[in-house]
Every structure is written in structure tokens, then in C-alpha cells.
Symmetry: C2
Subunit: 493 residues, 2 copies
């Protein structure tokens, strides 16, 4: 199965594309830039969704659903938002087709032109704030803590499965508050929820930071983000949380009666993560044999493969395998017994390596005699012979899955640490960026001009101003002007 | 709160519209025909989704995701499908906006016209079968059992919240099989899954039947359906399951190598239910005071309202209320304690009646003294005083919720039975349809002409040919021609 998967060291980009397709995660569709998320890929996304949804609800949010379409005029209402979003998007201009007169198929009915064009949502701030205007009258209606799971469309010219597609799936939280502080606390809270999800479930260490004005969401006063490091030394923005100030409230005239009897514009936030996380998950941990999935997000955590000749052997192994399955399921572990006779064990081993199943158990007739099984870890590709009398198989696999989850995280953490370099001169900056990549922790003078100049010269952008950076006087890497602390530069997806 | 909700007997349609809005289920958006599903409404939909998704998975299906857009040419590939679906739909013609030169906002960039227009999916058979062509080569790839949760758009001219909206949420199952029998079995299985869901969770009795050729899905060889009866005597199609024959396989050239070494077109099914079920749920059970929700789909099953004067009383009641909540949660019951001091108990009672919370517990200082609580049922509006020493509160409420679930079903079942009338002459048909409504069980000669004539004359359509109908020779209600069994006519949503 994995035969011929390109090596990361040779062509990382091709390795990624092939892996996504061969592991049955996603593929390109007949519609330019739109992907099909295949069942196996979708089942990983569902696990992500379930955990995130739980975390959103635990922090007091409820789900709702807002329209797919946005009237064109809405986009113009928030000045900087339209600059950032109105450009590359799908525009609905007509609402009917009709049969072509020459019988060649269907054509757009010119009679059915919309008075105002509709935009397929690239993000929903405008349509949601136009709704909030009716939902919010008084401080008693606040805070309003709503999330939506939805599809959005941004007409990207260069697309890549999961990382950048014209249509993608995401969640977008949109909250409204009575004070700036409350809204800023929410912005921070949701960035932390994302960070916790990435680290705890995706086994992906992230830098928590703040975007520069240049990289901020169009319409936000402040954007917090989590940034992850991929195996090729490029950074990936994995989630953003925006403090919208009163910008959208002003654009859509959303005011509330304050506790003190006044009238004020509402404060807002929005925050989102998308199927892009799938790309991050794949690129962060996988290897030349295929996917490596953290157990907490693996649709199947354990696969049992029987090694047998003839029906008799299979039957005896099956009895034992089913006992093991029962034990594992009691512990909440998802397990599959692959007794297909259409494929050889070796083929199955390669298939489950490609698919990233964290633990593989193999059982042959000799194991049966000896009361043993072979346990193989996907992440380290190591094997051990385990005696079933040693301890309960449920305990054994539970603790192994936990160990694997932690080990994948540690490996990624160590990699990121190695790939984070303090640089103190422009020459060093260029050299490290070219030869090593990763995060470059460097001083910057705080101006957009310098930021743009560096991007122009090197393609590196400021990924974020880390929230935990230390106050440290220094000189800008490019201009030598004074700086109050280091920021993280990187080339990015 | 519920003051002023129109009465069902006076204006059923207005009652429904007002109820949907006041109970915070949904509202119209700024985009014509598109609704906003509000948090409370969405939380009911989520419960429906969770149960359906579980049932789909238990019958071997997995979820996936296919593109929102369909190339226009795809729609023409299946001849009868295009007739049924290509007409009223949202058409994307451009992919970019630009700033208007006069600074008045944004306009569609005429340079960014798509070569081929894209249709926002009204249903996904075409895009999915174009994908299946690559997924299916051999009988080993079959059956393919895939479901998708998605939004779809059909440009309806007259819309109604949940019942008929331009955009709606649904699930669409699309399966592929090696034989006609297997595909027909699947079609039947999924119709039965829908029926079971409607009856067991929605407390909604349904007629399981087959559509006539006229009412069949465009592109199907056979359509099975479940039909429900609303309180105003109109029928509502609650779910459909289609046997597609080899129609889409032929349209998209999806062939497979058979076990016997031949090559054959694949057999298909598709099946779906949508947010329309929300409309059915509301209309089937609710009353002039508001929503009546079956406990299995109620986001909050029990609310506890304290009746108190002053902090001291509230505190003592709170202690007891929290004990009760702990007991109920142990039983998996969702419970809320409404100790807001901004609203009076009477106001809260009306609010929870409007929202359809199945059980309300009220507790005052005298209850505390006596070790009692007042338990009120939403469905019957009856109250009882319950002594907490009598039996465990968890047991009590568990069995009460079960009783309510069953009672709501029985009431709807009895209503439907009363509203199903055998009619044997054309005069009787017209009289019953006008004066009573409901299902009219009548003989029909089996021709589309007669079916259309009856529709033209009375607006009644054949809802279905019940699967359990008895063989019974008779004469067509309109033409007097021979008939082999009765079908169900009704006016319908």
C-alpha cells in the first residue's frame, strides 16, 4: 500500500499530497478548488468536532445556524472587512435555469436575475451582526455566546487539500458583550480553548500569540492566534480569535441599554478553526510510511490482525481476539478485528501503517499456545511480545495509548524547540531562514513597513508576537531601530 | 410570554408562525427565503441529528463531505433528474467582486466570469456519482454506504420557516450496490430507520408507503416515504428513501467488475430527512400555550422553579433543588434550575410552557417543610404534589418522562386514526376532504391522469400507497375503473 509514497526528505509537498489521497482522507473534486472529504478523513474531522463542540459548550456557548448567502451590500458596511473579504468569493447572480432551446442541456435563465447579488459566505460576521441587531436590546441580552458549524467559500487561486480550498468546513463563534473587557476576555479564552485542543487532542504544541496589525483579521481590533510548526520548518496558523471592538456593532447599528440607563454599542468577538486543522495534524506527525494519528483522534485506535493458515487456526484466534476486543471496548477503546481473507497480513500491516492506526496487535497460533500477542506501535514502529497473563490487556493498551499520545506530543514539542532559533543579525536571519527554517525569534521595530520589507525580501512573515515573550530591549533585525521584544518570524502555509 | 399566541382553531398557520418565532426556534433572515435557526431551535435539531447519526452508523454507514457546488453540465446528465431539479436553484456565475469606481461599495467584477456556471447543490446525486466513478472498480468496493450532513438550496418562491425554505439543513445518504435486490433492501431499511426515528423519538406516528410515479424523486425508479398527519388535517412528508436503479450509474458511467468476471452498472439509493422534521415536530404536538416536546428530543427535560420570598428562603430551596438535580443527572436527565430573580414564577411557568419543557418542578417554603414538590406535566398541563419520601425522585421523573413520551405518541396516534377515513364515492371524498381533512383511504385506478385530475379538482394528492395495504378489489373514486387496493390521499404541506 504505502509503496511509492514519496519521502518527506525528497519532496515534502508531494509526500503530503500523496499521503492525503492514499490514506483516504480527501481528494480533489470535479469542481475547481473544492475537495471531497472521504469517509476516513471525515471520521477524524468528526472526532475533532466532537471535542471542540464539547469545549465550546463547557464554556457556555450554544450552536445556531445562519444563512449561507450574504447580500452584497452587507459586505460594504464594515470598511476594512470588505477590503479583506469581499474580493475573491462566489457570487450568485441568478436563481433559475431553463432548458436550452437547441436541446443541448440547461442554460441560465436571463429572466431570473437577482436584484441584488448574493455572496456565498466567506465568513459570517455581517449576516450575524445584522441578526444580532434584533436579538440585543438590553444588557440583559448579553453576553450572547453563539457558535456555528458551517461551510464557507473563498475563491482561492492555488488550492491544496485541507490547507487551502475554495470551500472548507469550519466553526465560527460570534459573541456579543456589554464591555470591552468581557469581549477581550472571551477572545483570550477561546484562543486558549484552541491551544488546549491542539495540545491535548492533536498532540500539537502551539505558540499562543497576537497578530501584528498587518496580519489581523479584516474588521478586528486585535487578533490572537495559535501557530504550529510543521516538519518541513514552515509555520501553520491553526486557529484565530478576534476582538472586534465595536466595529461590527457600529456597522450594523447594534446598541444596547446599559445597566446604568445609557445606550452603547455592543462589543464583539469572533473565532474559528477549520478543516485546515486536518492538514496540520497530518503534516505535524506523519512519516514516510503514512499517517501517524494521536490516539485521541484516531477513529480506530487498535487493530487486531490474525496470522493463520486455514479455518481452524482462524477460529481459535478469533475466539481470543473477541475476548480482547470485549476487554478493550470496556475501557472505551475503539478496536477492529480484520479477519478478511482477501488480503495477507503483510498487506494489512502496511495498510494500517498508512492509515495511522496507533496500535496493531498481531496473533498467530504460537501466540495462542504461549498466551502472548505482538503489540506494534505506529508512532515508533517498535514491537513487543506481551504476555496476556502479565496484566489485564485493557490496562496495558489504555496506558500504551496514553503513552503514545504523550510521546507524539513530546516529539513534536522537541522538534519545535529545535526549530525555534534566536537570531540577532540580518545575515543570521537570512541564513537560518534558508538553511534551517522554523521559527525565527527576532527583534522587530514594530512598523508595518519593516514587516512588509522583510516579507518582500525573504517571504518570511511575522507569525505572532508571543503572549509569553519577555520584555527585552533590542534592535530590529532589519532596520536596527529599537525594539521592546522578540517576535516570531517564519515562512508559513 | 405566551399571551397573544394565536389559537390553532382560529388561525393554524398564524399560530405556527408565531410559535416558531416566540419559542426561539427560528426566524426569517435578511436573505429572502433563508432562515436563521436560533440556539433553542438548533439544540432540538442537534438532538435529532445525534440520534439519526447513531442509527445510520449502526446500519453500517459512514459520513463524508462533497462539494457545495455542482457544475451546470452535471445536472443535464440524468434526464429526468434535470427536469425535477435544475430549475429553481442558486447559480454562481462570478468569482470576484471589486470596488465600484464611484466609491459606492462593491460590484461584481465582469472580468471574473466563470467559464461554466456552478449550481449550489439542491441535492448531491450528480456530484457524488461523478465521484463514485473513481471509487468503484470491483464488487469488492461494494456496497458503498455513505451519508452527508449538509446544507442545500432550492429557490422556493413561497417559503415557510422549517417547512419550506430556500436553504435548509439535511442529511443525504448515497449508497452503491452490486445488485438490484441489495439496493432495494437498503431503500427499505432506511425508510424503516426514518419511521423508527419518527415514532420512537419524535413521538410521531407515520404511514410507511410508496410514492406514485408522479410523486417520485426525479431520477429514481421507486420512492419510499413516511407520511405524518398534522393537527390541521394536512399531511406532511417527513422523509424519503429512493431506489435509483442504475440511472445515476449510467449517467456517470459507474461500472464494476462483478464476482463472476463481468462488468455491470452499479445500483444506487439515496435517502434524506431535513430541518423540515422540525416543522413536523412542532405542528404535530404543540398547543395554544406553546411547544410540546417529546422528552427524548427536549434540550431541557426538567426545569425547577423556586417560589420564594427573600434570600433566606431561596437558599434553603436551592440546597434541596441541587440535591434533586444531582439525582436527576445521575439518571441522565437534563435539568435546569431557574433561580433568576429578574422574573416572577408565573412568568417562568409561561416561558417554559412556551418552550415545551416536558416537566416543571415548583418548590416553595411549605414544600420544603412538608418534604414535597409540585410536578407539572407540559403535555397534559396537569399537576401533582409529590412526596419526596415516597420514592426516589430519579425513579419518579424517569418513569414520568417515559410516560410523557408514550402519551404524546398515543395522542398523535389516536388523532391520526381518527383523521383517517375510508371513502367510497366521489361525493364522500370531496365532503370528507373539505369538512374533516386528514388521510382519505380510497381506491384509485393507478393512472397518472386520474391522480392529476383529482389534484386539479381538490388539491389532494396521493401521499402514498401504504406498504401494509390489503389486497382489495374496488373501483376508482373518480373514474370507477378497477383498482387493486386503497391509497392515501390528503392535502399536504
Amino acid at each position: 500500500m504505502s509503496k511509492g509514497l514519496p519521502k518527506r526528505s525528497e519532496d515534502y509537498s508531494q509526500w503530503y499530497n500523496e499521503l492525503v489521497k492514499r490514506a483516504d482522507l480527501a481528494e480533489n473534486s470535479a469542481v475547481r478548488g473544492c475537495m471531497v472529504i472521504k469517509p476516513y478523513g471525515y471520521s477524524i474531522w468528526e472526532k475533532m468536532q466532537a471535542e471542540l463542540d464539547r469545549m465550546f459548550k463547557e464554556t457556555g456557548h450554544t450552536n445556531a445556524y445562519f444563512p449561507l448567502f450574504i447580500p452584497k451590500s452587507f459586505l460594504s458596511k464594515e470598511a476594512s472587512h470588505v477590503e479583506g473579504f469581499a474580493k475573491e468569493c462566489a457570487v450568485v447572480t441568478h436563481y433559475r435555469l431553463k432548458n436550452a432551446e437547441d436541446g443541448s442541456g440547461v442554460i441560465v435563465d436571463p429572466e431570473a436575475k437577482l436584484e441584488e447579488e448574493l455572496i456565498v459566505r466567506p465568513t459570517s460576521e455581517t449576516v450575524i451582526w445584522s441578526t444580532y441587531k434584533n436579538w440585543i436590546q438590553s444588557y440583559r441580552d448579553l453576553p450572547l455566546l453563539v457558535n456555528q458549524w458551517a461551510n464557507v467559500v473563498r475563491w482561492e487561486m492555488r488550492t491544496r487539500l485541507f490547507l487551502r480550498t475554495a470551500e472548507f468546513l469550519w466553526q465560527e463563534g460570534h459573541t456579543a458583550h456589554a464591555t470591552a473587557k468581557e469581549a477581550m476576555d472571551e477572545t483570550m479564552q477561546m484562543m486558549n480553548v484552541y491551544a488546549q485542543f491542539a495540545e491535548e487532542f492533536m498532540a500539537l504544541p502551539v505558540v499562543r500569540g497576537r497578530k501584528t496589525a498587518n496580519e489581523r483579521f479584516a474588521g478586528a481590533d486585535d487578533t490572537l492566534c495559535i501557530e504550529a510548526m510543521m516538519q518541513d520548518g514552515k509555520a501553520l496558523q491553526a486557529g484565530t480569535s478576534h476582538f472586534l471592538g465595536q466595529n461590527f456593532a457600529k456597522a450594523f447599528d447594534v446598541k444596547f441599554a446599559t445597566k446604568e440607563g445609557g445606550l452603547d454599542f455592543v462589543w464583539g468577538t469572533s473565532w474559528g478553526v477549520s478543516t485546515r486543522l486536518m492538514g496540520a495534524l497530518i503534516m505535524a506527525h506523519s512519516d514516510d510510511n503514512g499517517l501517524v494519528l494521536p490516539p485521541k483522534l484516531a477513529p480506530t485506535q487498535v487493530v487486531i490482525v490474525p496470522i493463520y493458515r486455514g479455518e481452524g487456526e482462524l477460529e481459535s484466534i478469533s475466539v481470543k481476539a473477541k475476548e480482547i476486543m470485549t476487554e478493550l471496548r470496556k475501557k472505551g477503546i475503539s478496536v477492529k478485528f480484520d479477519d478478511r481473507d482477501t488480503h495477507k497480513p503483510g498487506w494489512k500491516f502496511a495498510e494500517y501503517e498508512l492509515k495511522g492506526v496507533p496500535v496493531r496487535i498481531a496473533m498467530g497460533p504460537r501466540d495462542l499456545e504461549n498466551g502472548t500477542i505482538e503489540i506494534a506501535r505506529r508512532d515508533t514502529l517498535t514491537k513487543e511480545t506481551f504476555s496476556l497473563s502479565e496484566m489485564s490487556i485493557g490496562e496495558k493498551i489504555s496506558s500504551l495509548l496514553e503513552e503514545i499520545q504523550n510521546s507524539i506530543y513530546s516529539k513534536a514539542f522537541q522538534f519545535r524547540t529545535e526549530m525555534t532559533t534566536e537570531v540577532n543579525s540580518w545575515d543570521e536571519f537570512k541564513k537560518v531562514l534558508e538553511e534551517k527554517g522554523g521559527f525565527l525569534s527576532a527583534h522587530w521595530d514594530g512598523t508595518s513597513e519593516t514587516e512588509e520589507k522583510i516579507k518582500e525580501l525573504t517571504k518570511a512573515t511575522i507569525r505572532c508576537i508571543p503572549l509569553d515573550r519577555k520584555e527585552e530591549a533590542g534592535k530590529c533585525i532589519l532596520t536596527g531601530n529599537p525594539s521592546v521584544g522578540r517576535v516570531y518570524f517564519a515562512k508559513a502555509y
